[in-house]
Amino acid sequence: MTNKSWEPKIVCFACRWCSYAGADMAGTSRIQYPPNARVIRVNCSGRVDPNFILRALKLNADGVLIAGCHFGDCHYVSGNYQTSRRVALLKEYLKEIGIEPERLRLEWISAAEGQKFAETMKAFVNEIKLLGPNPLANGGPE
């Protein structure tokens, strides 16, 4: 199914206090990274309802990246801890349902880590390229 023109579609949920600012930092520092992500700003990584992630994958996103503050830095004290548990369980859900759990990735990126944001994006895009398109794309698996 993979053709040369295929580029991974990535949905990135970035926390407003750290990672979104980190993405801004990557931009203002003019660090190059692949343009595959659609970045959605959320107030906290803990605000990302597991339904959002499943819905993104259902609508043919090839990967979902959740970026939040480092442990201890959460603006709402414990939002990122909650996310870490949810992502672990969601990966299990995806594995059982037959979607590669690697399509879901959780990273902690602070407002100062523009470089890390760019590198995470590069690594994730490469990983998704190896996995190929979402199994639901083109009417599901053969």
Partner: protein
């Protein structure tokens, strides 16, 4: 004036929902005075719904084979009001868990691999019996449904309420509340440190079961049952399906699990530990609604299969 008629069609189901109708007990004679029960397979010897003049059609059971698709369409054509009756017809129910496997895997397991099966020629029935569909469907995948009465089985009180509403020409709607809203147990502090299976620890009869670490699906399940399971200290299994705002019970439950764990990070269990403590995630969280969840079935991708093989 002729009495309104009721027909009950049985698809892929255990017949528990029909028994629930009989469970109306003392309300049953009253219901039978008001309506004409034309067709119900557990009580009468008919194979097909009446040709015409069905006022209310109850369909219990999900759709598993081609014959059932046909029967379902007949029911829809012949009834004025169609009710999805029970968890199976509303969300696929427990038979919907078969969607984790392909049709061929299921046939292989049932007719060939099971230890108790004697089938030397390895014949899989294919004549006379109606062919299976690839997966289990809730009835709303095929026809328009007017009302949904979920439950496994639906509580007699709600059946009586539904029938009364329909007779009086009123709308029937379950309140958009969860099981937790109706549950009498005390919800206190979110302080779970580990999740346990039911029956492995003494239950505190006053406190919320989820906060004690049991897998109770109350927060993500449509209310209406008056929290009959948690009241009896059995965790909710989610038979009323998702509420209006919950699209996927498992996703919402994963969200809830993330936040019931104790907030202090030094006391909270590691995420990997929580994953281990919930052995059958889909079978627990989507026990009744896999066929109506986000993905509806397992995607049988080669990538994942080989990976699973390596891991196993």
């Amino acid at each position: 004036m002729t009495k309104p008629t009721l027909a009950v069609e049985t698809l892929s189901i255990c017949s528990g929902c029909e028994i629930a109708i009989l469970d109306l007990h003392q309300a049953l004679p009253g219901v039978l005075d008001a309506i004409d029960l034309k067709y119900i397979q557990v009580l009468m010897d008919f194979r097909e719904p009446p040709k015409e003049g069905v006022t209310v059609g109850f369909v219990s059971g999900g759709v598993r084979n081609e014959e059932q698709v046909e029967l379902l369409h007949k029911m829809r054509e012949r009834s004025t009001i169609l009710v999805a009756f029970g968890a199976c017809s509303a969300f696929g129910g427990i038979p919907g868990l078969a969607n984790l496997h392909t049709k061929d895997e299921l046939l292989q397991e049932v007719y060939i691999d099971t230890v108790s099966t004697v089938n030397p020629k390895g014949v899989i029935p294919h004549k006379v019996v109606p062919p299976l569909l690839e997966e289990v469907h809730p009835i709303s995948d095929f026809v328009k449904v007017d009302y949904v009465l979920p439950g496994c089985p639906p509580p007699p009180k709600l059946i009586a309420e539904l029938v009364t509403c329909l007779l009086e020409g009123k709308e029937f709607r379950l309140e958009p509340k969860t099981v937790c809203d109706q549950c009498p147990l005390i919800k206190d502090e979110k302080s779970v440190t580990n999740f346990i299976r039911w029956g492995t620890k003494k239950i505190d009869p006053e406190r919320c079961l989820l906060e004690q670490g049991f897998q109770c699906l109350g927060p993500v399940t449509q209310g209406g049952c008056e929290a009959r399971c948690p009241t009896a200290l059995a965790p909710c299994r989610g038979c009323f399906g998702p509420t209006e705002n919950v699209h996927d019970q498992a996703a919402k439950m994963i969200g809830a699990i993330g936040s019931v764990v104790v907030q202090d990070p030094t006391k909270a269990p590691a995420p990997e530990q929580i994953v281990k403590e919930i052995p059958d995630l889909i079978g627990t969280y989507l026990r009744f609604s896999l066929a109506a969840s986000t993905f509806k079935k397992a995607l049988h991708t080669n990538v994942v299969k080989t990976k699973k093989g390596v891991k196993a």
